[in-house]
């Protein structure tokens, strides 16, 4: 009935202002008259006995910073993905229009001869699908066998570079020749490689190979380097005064969360970092209660602990430097999600894990 619903609603909303016995009487009443509603209002204004004075306990508000370096390269492909992409490339041979050779290469030029030579060797203008022709009798045979090298991206890159470097005559040469490739240095100087083709020494420029996806820092395990784990997101964790690893955090003093985050970044990692705090809304929080021993000894026993609100930030350039840090930090590391789990306390990890990206 209407009266009961009203009383329940009033009881629910005003339950913090009325004492328990009054609250019970309200909920137990079944009167559905206007008089009942009036009595409820009266009981709401009833002054309940003041309990013994409990001190106002509070939590300090901290701002934390989750400073992340996003992945620098795309992730490795799953074998199924690479097989699928190879299949799609071979299928494209049969579905797309044929390559308009004479638009790019003039007839009867050396480039034209080179093109024809290479086409005879690989049957197709494409270099990354192996020996496959989209037309003719063998066009149905477009599936690669298990373990075929055509799937791997490294193999495709190798074929492209080989196509750029060689003229196709090497394949034709019956005499066995040793191809010496001098890999190009960092300064991109075009070095020269020599081949013996049919007695004549042919010089051709060699292209430098792409840099490896697993860097030096990966091999050495240098956790302070930002050049590590290029496929993953790296987060900055610091070691504070008590020796615990955590994201940099500090108490807020008369400022908003994102300004506090910017200040904390500078005070912990130094100014040599080009960072960006994303938005003004925190991405997670963590509550820490001081242990009772600490509470007894502390000058302000009403402060039961602190609540940290984490702000998301990105680093674009630079490196952290703890030399002049004002938060008493002793060490820093750039770690992936799994590595953080191993370094950090369990209850801290539980609050923090859902803020971190999968990759």
């Amino acid at each position: 009935m209407n009266g009961r619903q009203t009383t329940r609603r009033l009881a629910l909303t005003a339950s913090q202002y009325i004492c328990r016995p009054c609250r019970d009487t309200i909920s137990r009443s079944t009167y559905s008259t206007a008089a009942a509603v009036q009595t409820d209002n009266q009981s709401l204004q009833h002054i309940h006995p003041v309990a013994s004075a409990t001190p106002q306990t509070s939590y300090a508000v901290n701002a934390g910073v989750v400073l992340s370096r996003p992945p620098m390269i795309t992730r490795d492909l799953h074998p199924f993905e690479s097989a699928y992409f190879l299949y799609q490339r071979r299928l494209n041979e049969r579905l797309a229009l044929p390559f308009t050779r004479y638009f790019y290469i003039k007839k009867n030029t050396p480039a034209d001869l080179e093109w024809k030579r290479k086409l005879r060797q690989r049957l197709t203008p494409a270099r990354d699908i192996g020996r496959y022709k989209g037309y003719g009798d063998e066009a149905w045979n477009d599936e690669a066998l298990v373990g075929a090298p055509e799937r791997e991206i490294q193999w495709q890159v190798e074929r492209l570079l080989e196509d750029a470097e060689q003229t196709g005559k090497e394949g034709q040469a019956e005499a066995e020749s040793e191809i010496e490739h001098k890999e190009g240095g960092e300064k991109a100087e075009k070095s020269v490689a020599t081949t013996t083709v049919g007695g004549k020494v042919v010089q051709h420029e060699s292209f430098e190979r792409p840099m490896p996806r697993i860097t030096e820092a990966d091999l050495k395990g240098d956790v302070q380097s930002l050049n590590r784990q290029l496929q993953r997101t790296l987060y900055l964790v610091v070691k504070d005064k008590s020796g615990q690893w955590m994201f940099p955090q500090d108490r807020i003093t008369q400022e908003s969360l994102h300004t506090a985050a910017e200040r904390i970044i500078v005070q912990s990692g130094g100014i040599n970092m080009n960072t960006w705090v994303v938005g003004r809304v925190p991405i997670g929080h963590q509550q820490y209660d001081f242990p009772s021993k600490v509470l007894q000894a502390s000058p302000n026993p009403n402060e039961l602990g602190y609540k940290t609100f984490f702000m998301k930030a990105r680093i674009m350039a630079g490196q952290a430097n703890l030399k002049e840090n004002k938060l008493g930090l002793s060490d820093f590391k750039w770690l992936t999600r799994e590595e953080i789990e191993k370094e950090v306390r369990k209850d801290y990890w539980r609050s923090v894990k859902n803020m971190l990206a999968d990759r």
Binding site: L77, Q88, A96, R127, I153, L160, L161, M211, L230
Partner: protein, 166 residues
């Protein structure tokens, strides 16, 4: 004799007869229908190398297997605001700037942010009057290769492998 211009009613009928019959689909079609195969140009995979050494594969109509770019996002100051090297780039390909400095001294140089000039302005004036060469400050113009090497060392991520791009 019939008038050369027919009546409006007749005109309407004629127009309807000539205009194409666009009838809205009223029934569902569940059998296979002929779809025109789109005419797509032949595409190759290409390895692109940017100016800082990072590489990626992409699909393109260009038959070149490898493409090396000399000017792109990685060596532009707009997209690398933290790089002081790119900000202070002074390209002097033809050597004209060096020749100018040899003739007229460095008094006409733009004010640089790094060097705090303690010289008084009158020095430059004296330079111009007397035609003397002012003492050579540290050469600001660096070659492109050195720039690339320096730019690489300043940014955190140097080594970029081939990105699987498919």
């Amino acid at each position: 004799m019939s008038s050369p211009i027919p009546s409006p009613g007749a005109l309407r009928l004629l127009r309807r007869a000539i205009a194409p019959q666009i009838s809205l689909p009223t029934h569902q079609v569940r059998h296979a229908t002929l779809l025109r195969r789109p005419k797509r140009p032949y595409t190759f995979t290409q390895l692109v190398t940017l100016s800082d050494g990072s590489t990626f594969l992409h699909r393109t109509t260009s038959p070149a297997p490898v493409y090396k770019s000399t000017k792109d996002q990685r060596n532009t100051p707009l997209w690398n605001p933290s790089s002081q090297k790119l900000l202070n780039v002074e390209e002097d390909e033809a050597g004209k700037l060096a020749a100018f400095r040899a003739k007229f001294g460095r008094g006409w140089d733009a004010v640089s942010t790094d060097e705090t000039s303690t010289e008084q302005p009158i020095d430059h004036l004296l330079d111009l009057i007397s035609g003397q060469q002012s003492k050579a400050a540290g050469p600001k113009s660096t070659g492109k290769k050195a720039q690339a090497a320096d730019a690489k060392s300043s940014e955190p991520a140097l080594a970029k492998g081939v990105a699987g791009k498919k």
